[in-house]
Amino acid sequence: MDWRSDSGLAGRSVVVTGAAGGIGRSVARAFAEAGSHVVAVDVPGSPVASVVEGLPGGPHRALELDLLDLDAHAGVFAAANELAPFRALAHLAAVLRRNSSIDDVTEEDWDAQLDVNLKATFFLARAASRALRDADTPGAIVTFSSQGWWTGGFGGSVVYNASKGGVATLTKGLARSLAPHGIRVNAVAPGGVDTAMMREGMSEEAMASFLSMIPLGRLARTDELAGAVLFLASDASSFVTGSIINVSGGQLMY
């Protein structure tokens, strides 16, 4: 065994969804620094092209794609295989709509979050696994849950966190189904991460109160999530599957 975080990743292609977001950019960069060819995916109109422009190594590719277009999923992994043999999916893309009261949640709010966060996750992960199975090669799928899979969420994110609970369950089921093919499936459950989305609408007092619940006393930098993704995508985690990795600075403990 070699003790490298790029073990199994160098010279292979990876797909990163939500790549134009704060965490997604760090994940794409971490993979590129590990020698992977990155297919960066985010919604049409997003600055995903700018994500790959700054990456070392390559070639990489940016794809503007609505993940609700399930028929397009297979093409994402075909694009990855054009760069290098596909190795791993890191699926970060998600929709969060905060409703301060559950009475404000509309059916459209429900569908918008569940369709992207849960339904598209299943079909995208299945498409990733098909690309790996067709090539008869082992690989890894890394999903993103949330601390809310455990707590149910605070601050108007009940629906979002129901979808993220579904992602945790889906991760386990896919891990069981895909293990015979040498495909590992694990989830990262981030706590508070220092992103624009996190700080938006948060007063200094609210932030201080939030930080007081975290033993490490701070938010995560986005690259601190990338470390966990790289670990789960690489051979360093070769006996880890069906696990949910808690990256919360101790805010929750499990």
Binding site: W3, P215, D223, G250
Partner: protein, 253 residues
């Protein structure tokens, strides 16, 4: 970003590894040494630590015989281990006596709990104090067992009760040491191919357990060591209070 080394941040530091003469501990010591850190290899005084040191890449490694059942010796040992570059602890040392429930004596119970639970408390507390005094943060990794979640099987009741306690201790220390920048996490291995795993188990039982796991095999000590290296590295700088399930999917959590 922290570069391609799994052990980013370990270069030039020192790490205390207990159970270093055992299956998993030995692999952890090798992995940490390969990442550029000095290993303080600890195990029971009767263990062959010279053999462990001889297998470590790099230099500056030391042997530290320690009976974890002796709380007074633990404090002294940590004092000797904690040099200027001290990064922390990977605590793989443990005692398992596999025996039917009806055969567990108070002596057997105490022997396992003195090492596994009491020893862990005093060891982690001492290491935590040493790290707090240095003011550079640090890393502590404890070991539980998959059975902390599933409950004991195959005559490991007293052992597993102690290992469930280790999960609780890990969380408590993660909370108390967090403000000093010290992360504290636990690894819960499933079936790993070590002498401890096979002790008192039949070949049939071992094969059935391996087959029941989704990956369909036992894990290797090196695969567990890789998780330990991740947890002590810069890559895991925001992971604390976590219990990492390394079971090939035998359990999922």
């Amino acid at each position: 970003m922290t570069g391609p080394a799994l052990g980013a941040g370990l270069d030039g530091r020192s790490v205390l590894v207990t159970g270093a003469a055992g299956g998993i501990g030995r692999a952890v010591a090798v992995a940490i040494a390969a990442s550029g850190a000095r290993v303080v290899a600890s195990d029971h005084p009767a263990a062959d630590l010279a053999g462990v040191l001889a297998a470590l890449p790099g230099d500056g490694h030391r042997a530290l015989p320690l009976d974890l059942a002796d709380p007074a010796a633990i404090g002294t040992a940590v004092g000797a281990a904690a040099d200027d570059g001290f990064l922390g602890l990977v605590h793989a040392g443990a005692l398992l006596r596999r025996e039917p429930v009806a055969a567990v004596t108070p002596e057997s119970w105490d022997a396992q709990h003195e090492v596994n639970l009491r020893g862990t408390f005093f060891l982690v507390r001492s290491v935590g104090e040493a790290l707090e005094a240095r003011g550079r943060g640090g890393r502590i990794v404890t070991f539980s067992s998959i059975a902390w979640q599933s409950g004991p099987i195959l005559g490991s009741d007293a052992y597993v009760a102690s290992k469930a306690g280790v999960v609780a201790l890990t969380r408590g220390f993660a909370r108390s040491l967090g403000p000093a920048g010290v992360t504290v996490n636990c690894i819960a291995p499933g079936q790993i191919d070590t002498p401890m795993q096979s002790r008192g188990n039949t070949d049939e039982t071992m094969a059935a357990t391996a087959a029941a796991c989704p990956l369909g095999r036992m894990g290797s000590p090196e695969e567990v060591a890789a998780v330990a290296v991740f947890l002590v590295s810069d890559h895991a700088s925001f992971v604390s209070g976590a219990t990492v399930n390394v079971s090939g999917g035998l359990l999922m959590y």
